[in-house]
């Protein structure tokens, strides 16, 4: 874990140093940038219940890493974005400390938004869609004792409200929910020959599921990001994310807080 923290810190410092160097070059310039990349670290906490795995409720905790990229021109209404999140943590129950499990969680998003309302260059509102892969795996002791996984490939409706509070402060809220999802779950018996065969075929393993509508797999992802501009290339950001999903077998409720840096280029 220490290695990861050192690596992330080094990356953040590199970006910061790079941003400060470039900011000297750009002093007095009104140049705008089309690309931005963000890197942040924080915590993921939540509650998970997977009846396929256990009748118990589990508290999830873990360190969360996020990486984001966005492409948007100020003169254009188009926004392309991608987000990655990964958390490595644990699941605990009230029943017994001996039932603690390893918990891995990840999130990948690729999307497009189109601005359709702008007011005084301070507020803009965008709507669009994204491909959203959400995956998690819980392992009790080792995969031979017990494991479960939840993989959802979603087509999400996505909305964004951006508010430029003043020259330095910016607030962005994102909200998304699935229209249709491909749910990939362990079999009813937890483990079967088909799953066994697919363990050596990752593509089959992560796509062998059922399509369900947004009514059967209900999910909401909401995040609020506050950015403070250090210079015209670099800003700090604090992000809160609320993430929930619920279907017949799997229910999850997450709160995430991350802090990081955003770099424009």
């Amino acid at each position: 874990m220490k290695k990861y923290i050192i690596l992330i810190s080094s990356l953040l410092l590199s970006i910061l140093a790079s941003g400060q160097t470039n900011s000297l070059i750009e002093i007095g310039s009104s140049k705008t940038y089309n690309h931005q990349i963000g890197l942040s670290i924080g915590s993921n906490t939540g509650i998970m219940k997977d009846t396929n795995f256990s009748p118990l409720h589990y508290k999830e905790r873990g360190i969360l890493y996020k990486l984001s990229y966005e492409n948007s021109k100020s003169s254009s209404k188009n926004i392309f974005f991608s987000n990655l999140a990964f958390s490595n943590g644990s699941l605990k129950t009230n029943a017994s400390d001996s039932l603690e499990s390893i918990y891995i969680y990840g999130d990948i998003e690729l999307g497009y938004l189109r601005k359709f309302y702008t007011k005084n260059k301070k507020i803009d509102f965008a709507l669009g869609a994204k491909y959203h892969l959400d995956f998690s795996e819980a392992i009790f002791n080792n995969v031979y004792e017990s494991f479960t996984f939840n993989i959802t490939h979603r087509l999400d409706l996505s909305a964004r409200l951006n508010y430029q509070i003043n020259e330095k402060h910016n607030l962005t809220a994102n909200l998304s929910a699935p229209i249709v999802s491909l749910l990939v779950r362990p079999p009813f018996s937890g483990y079967d020959d088909e799953l066994n065969e697919n363990t050596e075929k990752p593509l089959a393993l992560i796509t062998n599921g059922n399509f369900v509508s947004g009514l059967k797999h209900r999910a909401i992802k909401f995040d609020l990001i506050h950015r403070y501009e250090l210079n015209n290339k670099l800003s700090t950001m604090v992000q809160y994310e609320f993430n929930t999903q619920s279907n017949k077998e799997y229910k999850q409720f997450q709160n995430q807080i991350t802090v990081g840096l955003n770099y424009k280029f």
Binding site: A95, F140, E145, N196, S246
Partner: protein, 349 residues
């Protein structure tokens, strides 16, 4: 005033998120004796795959033990009740664990354990074998020759945890032998694919051996489509001269799968005791609010004629088993019977 409004908004958000959490996740099942009992019975009721083939009446178990579980049932009493329910299934793939107190109960394992103890005490290696070598640090795979005879001997103690490709080297070593005794007594099972891999080195062709079905829903008869399994021919060479597979009551699971495939070959016979009769996959660990874990069988295995050996086991051509007094006196009746069988049937001395 502004601070007060901000505080109220924060409280409102936290309160709504907390209530939202309960709405989404639901109320957690309680840790009372009744709730643990109901969960345990229901989970097995919905997932256990062998009620029909083993002829179990699980409803009668509910009726028998339900009145015994009350709010004042102690933890020890509840453990004893669940152990008794587990024992009723008489299925060595069905367990209950109390990890904190290091207790484990394996259903129907008494006869398997007794057979294993006799096998452990058996000095057959020094009394019947020569050129003996173990090819695995855990002794899961051993090769030898029967003393003063052109008959090979292989011991296979588990169907995983060792390098299965060693089988090819050993088949080559025994190529010139007139017959081989394959000893799978006290084979602890493992991976059925591993079993089929090994069996392919003794194969005389492709035969339909059995089917498997997995539980896919809570109904007693909700199973997946049948998967048909066939023997295959594998490796650079196969040993197709007479083979006697020797077994005991502790030959279990993937060890029995191996025998299912082996018995589809015309040159293979079984001598020894009836095997454990536990063919199913075992479920993942399941959890109870009291902190205990349990597992059960979730699969149904049928022979090509639709019959099941679950709860029965592979019945040998010649039924013979060692008792403790035999092995203490240095006699292995099973190996001796296997040798006699090779003489009687094939004229191999």
């Amino acid at each position: 005033m502004r601070n007060l409004v901000n505080t109220l908004i924060a409280i409102l958000i936290i309160t709504s998120l907390t209530s939202c959490e309960k709405t989404i996740i639901g109320t957690e099942v309680g840790n009372t004796p009744r709730e643990n009992f109901e969960l345990f019975w229901n989970d097995i009721n919905e997932h256990y795959g062998l009620f029909q083939v083993r002829g179990h009446d699980w409803d009668s178990i509910y009726n028998q033990y339900n009145p015994q579980v009350t709010g004042s049932t102690t933890e020890d009493e509840l453990w004893d009740i669940m152990v008794a329910m587990n024992e009723y299934l008489d299925d060595s793939h069905t367990f209950i664990y109390d990890r904190e107190n290091q207790k484990i109960e394996v259903s129907g394992y008494e006869s398997n354990m007794a057979a294993h103890e006799v096998f452990e005490a058996n000095p057959f290696v020094s009394n019947y074998l020569e050129n003996h070598r173990s090819l695995d640090p855990n002794d899961y795979f051993q090769s030898a020759k029967i003393m003063d005879k052109e008959i090979g001997y292989l011991y296979i103690g588990a169907m995983d945890g060792w390098d299965e490709t060693l089988i090819d080297e050993v088949i080559k070593e025994h190529e010139s032998k007139k017959a081989i005794i394959v000893d799978i007594r006290s084979n602890t099972g493992g991976d059925a694919n591993f079993s089929r891999f090994l069996a392919s080195r003794f194969s005389d062709g492709v035969h339909f051996t059995h089917t498997t079905e997995d539980k896919i829903g809570p109904g007693r008869d909700e199973f997946s489509e049948k998967t048909k399994w066939y023997s295959s021919v594998g490796g650079p060479r196969q040993f197709t001269k007479p083979i006697v597979v020797i077994t005991n009551r502790a030959t279990i699971s993937a060890g029995e799968d191996f025998l299912t495939t082996m018995k589809s070959f015309g040159h293979v016979s079984q001598v020894g005791d009836i095997t454990a009769g536990d063919f199913s996959n075992t479920s993942m660990h399941r959890f109870l609010p009291i902190g205990w874990e349990y597992r059960y069988s979730t699969q149904r295995t049928l022979l090509p004629d639709g019959s099941s050996l679950d709860g029965i086991g592979h019945v040998p051509e010649i039924l013979v088993k060692n008792e403790m007094e035999n092995v203490i006196s240095g006699e292995d009746k099973v190996i001796e019977t296997a040798l006699q069988y090779l003489t009687d049937r094939y004229g191999i001395n």
